[in-house]
Amino acid sequence: MGSRKKWWFIISGIVILPGFISLFTWGLRWGIDFKGGTLYEVKIKKEEVKIAEVRETLKPLNLPDLTVISTGPSTFLLKTAQIEQEKVDEIKETLKSKFGETEEIRYETVGPVVGKDLKKKAIWAISLACLFIILYIAWAFRNVPKPQSSFKFGISAIAALIHDVLVVLGTFSIIGHFLGYEADAYLITAILTVLGFSVHDTIVVFDRIRENLKRLPGINFETVANESVIQTLTRSINTSLTVILTLLALFLLGGETIKPFVLALLIGITTGTYSSIFNATPLLVVWQRRVKS
């Protein structure tokens, strides 16, 4: 690994950077789960209705913050700030009188209080998960030979994990801006899964370091870490491959509603494999060297 270490960090930096900039400039496109609002998806029985026609038809209703997205042939998803049931009935009537029979596919309305609560809970869940994982790793690696500290293992694992979460959030910010994907409750679930997988990968490498440290006392830490990464490489790649295969199948063939969710998982798990090999372990090595000198 040696002098290449800094390159691994630089590559990660390059991967994170666009997402990071996007997060700060465009932010995330929050779905109604988080900011509250009303969502109405409707299929118009008459074929070949254009999105512009729908927009034009709904204009007189003065719906607050209206966006219209086409989700299929003659199927449209309307999003607005939270509106009353009566207003939704008005939308239905207006569409019906203009285009004929319609079929309601989805109707969701979420109050702003609910969204705020979800945000708070999501932040709590992610922070708590990180904290407990650090504590667990510190405990599970408590027998690691001196002068290594088990807390360093835990914190390095979390650093790799924060990297992965940032990549997912950054990517969502970018595709949110260009493709209209929204951050909803599913995204939180995806991030938490990525978090689990990332730690999974990191622990496998760390476990091998722990074992090798005991088996080969007196050998310098960097060599041991390097050896451990190489020994677990086939496993890391094979495991990620199987998961990525499953997710790819879900992404290409699965239902439209879970697509953003699966995409987030795909990105997160791919970077998760990368980060546990090329970030978590080098970080541990660099940290170790700092302490020594």
Binding site: G111, I188, V204, D207, V243, T246, L248, G255, I258
Partner: protein, 423 residues
């Protein structure tokens, strides 16, 4: 060898039981005091279609120490109303959003959503008012007779007008109060107020002793029916407000299930193909263990029962990934041990022993995440965490015990050769 065969038999029995429960045409199971299981996969709203409602209670007019009781009261009343509606498999739960108390209602497969929403959210506080004062100062005051004094309420058709109306019958105390009110107000109007509105104010024609009356108003039949249900099942202790509503059409669900199932099957097939082509004989054994794994998890979904949502299916598929990971870890370790010149039997034992700490630590950290999600999450997130956690727990069993038993069985047979050479 004896211990080994007991494990083998146990695995086979377990697999058999699991697949027996998994059969699509399985009959309901009566577990005696452990309850009754219909052994169906319970589908969540996003698969089956239906409506998800969150009501926020306004507890401002109630003392803080009684909030919990009133919250339960709202839940009970809503539960009675929904049961009277005859919705199959509803779920009604207390919830909390920030410091606000809520009731979460899920009604699968319901068609008349708007009517149901109106009915559930109605406070249905019935009060009887009489007039007090003279001329300008004249106004309505409460008589003390309320909906709490009702024994029953039914819909009936008014024989003269043909309009639907609600016939009410008071309990003993109510009947006494009603008699006094009618005595006091003979030839004067008495108003019937429902929540904030006076819905009728008939003039009392005679003293009513038997405690019966009718509420007339501009009701549709459904409205009258729902009012009768609400009056019988009791008013809500506090008013509620609908703060979240999600209607999921029944057509979206089956389509999503079908697509996701096809995707999942393809995913599993690809994984099996990969495992077998990369690890050969041990790969075949791992895929076999994976099949048993899927069988057990599905059986658990039916037995517990776990309500399956799209997110839940995703959690299940991911847990397959984790189960495969455990086997890959073990096989890679076995390869290493074989390279150091160990015998196959020794390499198998050593491979499992050495891989176990990785499997244990990584799965426990995933379980930690799941537990936090189950604890903090709501609906969708929780469904995902539950299936993932179940999957991880079962996968630790199948990937370690089942695969090891199979591999041990292979040692000393003709299969041994294929393991030795391809690994």
């Amino acid at each position: 060898m004896k211990r080994l065969s007991i494990t083998t038999i146990l695995i086979l029995v377990l697999a058999f039981l699991a697949f027996w429960v998994d059969r699509p045409s399985v009959k309901p199971l009566d577990l005696g005091r452990f309850g009754y299981r219909d052994l169906k996969i319970h589908q969540g709203l996003d698969l089956k279609g239906g409506v998800h409602l969150v009501y926020e209670g306004d507890f401002s007019k109630i003392e803080a120490k009684d909030h919990e009781k009133a919250h339960q009261g709202v839940l009970n009343a809503i539960e009675r109303r929904i049961n009277a509606l005859g919705v199959a498999e509803p779920t009604i739960q207390k919830g909390q959003i920030g410091d606000k108390k809520t009731i979460v209602v899920e009604l699968p497969g319901i068609t008349e959503i708007e009517e149901a929403i109106k009915m559930i959210g109605q406070t249905a506080q019935l009060t009887f008012l009489e007039q007090k004062g003279e001329g300008e100062k004249m106004g309505w005051v409460e008589t003390g007779l309320t909906g709490a004094h009702l024994k029953r309420a039914d819909v009936q058709m008014n024989p003269q007008s043909g309009q639907p109306e609600v016939a009410i019958e008071f309990n003993a105390e109510g009947a006494k109060l009603f008699k006094e009110i009618t005595q006091r107000n003979l030839q004067k109007p008495v108003a019937i107020k429902l929540d904030q509105d006076i819905i009728s104010a008939p003039t009392v024609q005679s003293v009513i002793e038997e405690g019966k009356g009718v509420i007339t108003g501009q009701f549709s039949i459904t409205e009258a029916k729902n009012l009768a249900i609400n009056l019988t099942s009791g008013a809500l202790p506090v008013p509620v407000k609908l703060i979240e509503q999600r209607n999921i059409s029944a057509t979206l669900g089956p389509e999503s299930i079908k697509k996701s199932l096809v995707a999942a099957l393809l995913g599993v097939f690809l994984v099996a193909l990969f495992m077998i082509s990369f690890y050969r004989m041990p790969g075949v054994l791992a895929v076999l263990a994976l099949a048993i794994y899927s069988g057990i998890v599905l059986a658990l979904f039916k037995l517990i029962p776990v309500t399956l949502t799209l997110a839940g299916i995703a959690g299940f598929i991911l847990s397959i990934g984790m189960a495969v990971d455990a086997n890959i870890l073990i096989f890679e370790r076995m390869k290493e041990e074989l390279r150091t010149g160990k015998t196959l039997g020794a390499a198998i034992e050593e491979g499992f022993k050495r891989a176990w700490s990785s499997i244990r630590d990584s799965n426990i950290s995933s379980l930690i995440t799941c537990l936090i999600l189950i604890w903090l999450g709501s609906g969708l997130v929780r469904g995902f965490a539950v299936t993932l956690a179940l999957g991880i727990l079962v996968s630790m069993f199948t990937a370690v015990i089942v695969t090891r038993t199979f591999l041990r069985l292979a040692v000393g047979t003709r299969l041994e050769k294929s393991i030795r050479f391809k690994i």
